[in-house]
């Protein structure tokens, strides 16, 4: 008889849960969004004989009384309908006592459980001997040894999951005493019966920590790690990005030859394909950044970074846990904001969300690249330091400083009574679990494409319409013709906002780009290409030359140093990303915060641009 089982995977953070999940489900897993929430559950399927098993992964949790949004999501699955058939609990064998605490709370739920002891190699190294048979007898449930890294014991576990499982009969706490003390007391008694400590050896972890958290070397190491990451993001990603651009270029060329002329053709090539290309081209950079983030998290180094950065960030209204979102923000604010969920304190989390979009994300990169090449001479100092690279670096520093200053301001403004705390496990260092890192990178990149893709696609189509059609209905305009773009809806909008942007040095052409950039910042380059009738969107050289030649009515060039710098500052600060606003709304569950974010960033951009324009004018 075939049956279908729903099994929930639970456990503390750093217990090797994702390795167990990946080993059990192979690649047959997907991230599902629970309707109406931002909850992402990973669901994997596998079959044993004629039993179909849905395995649901939950974020690592320390207790059944959730402290962070991550933890709240983790326990929701236990209240779903249908209720889980079995809870598969993964415990770090080298750290059993604390790992048993969450177990002891789940054991009250009258749901059959299976206990998996992971990381026994480390437990053995530390000198622990665990009597599995005794543990099974005391708990009244099946207990499995597993080495998720190597895959030992996975087969036996898989087979057993299809069988009848049992509700734990060991009493944690007592009938009417379920305090933390009483639970820990019961756990101690259980472990005294089932484990023995033979010898205690110091782990290499502690030795690494004296260096990784050293007052000087610790920060130096972090700086080196950052440089390696950013170097890789920019150099390694440039190859696949070139291929993607080339591929989309070929595709639109092919389509423009084969499709019949008409509005549909223009919509597909200039609206849809241009929109999709704009998203996909950033995937390499984002994937590489996610790869490194995953690597730092998986090895345990990220926790040390939080540890040494906490004191500094605390003064700014942030916490050590803000490090990951802020760094991720350098790739893309969307996943960065989603990664704030493990910050327990609401105020810390909110401030992190509010300032992360000021970090220079990869969408600003093509804008900076174009503008820098227009206004900054390609001089080299000492043979290797290029002035253009220095200006680029300055833009990143500008974004970071702005984010930190904004954090201080929000710290003063936002009222919140619950003091923030920073109580965090420092997991032992691990050799990277590559499979987990790759999977994590793949899933996060995919979710970026889906999240950002939806918005950018819709806006691209709308913008295409606005740029292609005008209020004068007697004729339609081609997006390729700049003279007619002026008479399109977009052109009217651009002219409409010209008085507002004149004080910061922008004309109506830039105005159009500012409007279209609201879909995504990199659209600036595409819009400029359209306005200046550069056929090939990626032909920077050609575009740059045309823009530099553009003259004001009085004969002066349009793109002076002051205008270009003003534009760069505007793009550094302005909130020109609909997808980010949508994510902020989802994460804060209110339109208030994305609205405030939009207003303060745009105001900051306008002021900054005004200042720079008038300084250099």
């Amino acid at each position: 008889m075939s049956q279908r089982l729903k099994i929930v995977l639970a456990g503390n953070p750093n217990c090797g849960k994702s390795s167990v999940f990946n080993k059990l489900t192979g690649l047959k897993q997907k991230i599902t969004n629970v309707p109406g929430t931002t909850i992402e559950n990973k669901v994997g399927k596998f079959t044993v004989g004629d039993t179909e098993i849905d395995l649901i992964d939950t974020p690592g949790t320390y207790s059944f009384n959730p402290k962070s949004l991550d933890e709240k999501e983790a326990i929701k699955v236990f209240f779903e309908d249908p209720a889980p058939d079995t809870i598969l609990y993964v415990a770090d064998a080298a750290n059993l006592k604390r790992n048993f605490f969450y177990f002891s709370q789940l054991a009250q739920h009258n749901t059959p459980m299976v206990l998996v002891l992971n990381m026994l190699d480390i437990a053995n190294f530390k000198g622990f001997e665990i009597d599995i048979d005794r543990l099974e007898k005391e708990l009244g449930i099946r207990v499995f040894k597993i080495n998720a890294r190597l895959g030992d014991g996975v087969k036996e576990l898989k087979k057993a999951l299809a069988e009848q499982q049992f509700v734990p009969h060991y009493t944690f706490g007592s009938e009417n005493d379920h305090t933390h003390e009483s639970h820990y007391d019961s756990i101690s008694k259980l472990l005294n019966k089932t484990t023995t400590l033979k010898s205690k050896r110091e782990l290499i972890s502690n030795k690494i920590d004296t260096w990784a958290t050293h007052p000087i070397l610790g920060y130096l190491l972090f700086l080196v790690v950052l440089l390696v990451i950013f170097q890789s993001v920019f150099t390694l990603a440039s190859y696949p990005m070139d291929w993607i651009e080339l591929g989309f270029g070929e595709l639109s060329e092919y389509l423009s030859k084969t499709l019949p002329d008409g509005w549909l053709k223009k919509l597909i090539i200039n609206g849809l394909i241009a929109g999709i290309a704009g998203v996909v081209v950033f995937v390499p950079q984002i994937a590489i950044l996610f790869f490194f983030m995953g690597l730092l998290e998986d090895t345990g180094y990220m926790a040390r970074v939080s540890f040494i950065m906490d004191k500094m960030l605390r003064g700014l209204g942030l916490s050590g846990k803000s490090v990951v979102p802020l760094l991720s923000g350098a790739a893309c604010a969307i996943p960065a904001i989603m990664s704030t969920r493990n910050i327990e304190n609401w105020k810390d989390r909110l401030i992190t969300i509010m300032v992360t979009p000021l970090m220079s994300c990869s969408a600003r990169l093509p804008v900076y690249t174009l503008l820098i090449s227009m206004a900054i001479p390609s001089d080299q100092y000492y043979g290797f330091v290029s002035l253009q690279a220095l200006v680029m670096l300055a833009m990143y520093v500008l974004g970071t400083v702005a984010a930190l200053v904004a954090a201080v301001v929000f710290k003063w403004i936002i009222r919140h009574d619950i003091p923030s705390y920073f109580i965090m496990e420092l997991p032992i260092y691990h050799v990277p679990r590559w499979r987990n890192i790759w999977l994590n990178m793949w899933q996060k990149s995919l979710s970026f494409v889906k999240e950002a893709g939806k918005v950018i696609l819709i806006v691209s189509v709308v913008l295409w319409f606005l740029a292609s059609y005008g209020p004068r209905a007697d004729k339609t305009f081609s997006i390729q013709e700049s003279a007619t773009l002026e008479q399109s809806y977009a052109g009217y909008f651009g002219k409409g906002i010209e008085p507002a942007i004149e004080p910061i040095g922008f004309n109506w052409k830039i105005g159009i780009s500012l409007i279209t950039s609201f879909a995504a910042r990199e659209v600036f380059v595409g819009t400029m290409s359209t306005i200046y009738s550069v056929g090939d969107e990626e032909n920077f050289e050609q575009l740059r030359a045309k823009m530099n030649k553009d003259k004001l009515p009085n004969g002066e060039p349009v793109y002076t140093l002051a205008v270009v710098l003003s534009l760069m500052v505007f793009y550094a600060f302005a909130m020109q990303c609909m997808s980010t606003l949508a994510v902020v709304y989802k994460e804060t569950k209110s339109w208030k915060w994305p609205a405030i974010q939009f207003v303060y960033m745009t105001a900051l951009a306008y002021l900054g641009s005004w200042l720079v324009f008038n300084l250099f004018h």
């Binding site: 320390y62 009384n65 006592k97 502690n206 540890f307 040494i308 920073f422 109580i423 496990e425």
Partner: protein, 80 residues
């Protein structure tokens, strides 16, 4: 004495936890009266502090460590 005042490498037994918004979190992480703790690492500027607790390493801010009362063991029992 307060857990935050304990010197690196010294071992103490947790006596009690003050009431605070993070008391529950500390308890969940294993800070229970009777448990042994040993500060092993301080971040630059002396805050946060990492402790060996049971079989793992727990870090917390000085502020949080202030709320944990401990009784130090006699160093003669464990130093060489």
């Amino acid at each position: 004495m307060k857990l935050s005042e304990l010197h690196i490498g010294h071992i103490a037994r947790i006596v009690s936890l003050d009431d605070s918004p993070y008391k529950e979190k500390l308890q969940e992480m294993g800070c229970i009266p009777g448990v042994l703790v040993k500060p092993i690492l301080k971040a630059p500027f002396g805050d946060p502090i990492a402790f060996e607790l049971e079989e793992y390493t727990l870090s917390m801010r000085k502020n949080e460590a202030d709320s944990v009362l401990v009784k130090p063991l006699d160093p003669l029992f464990y130093t060489h």
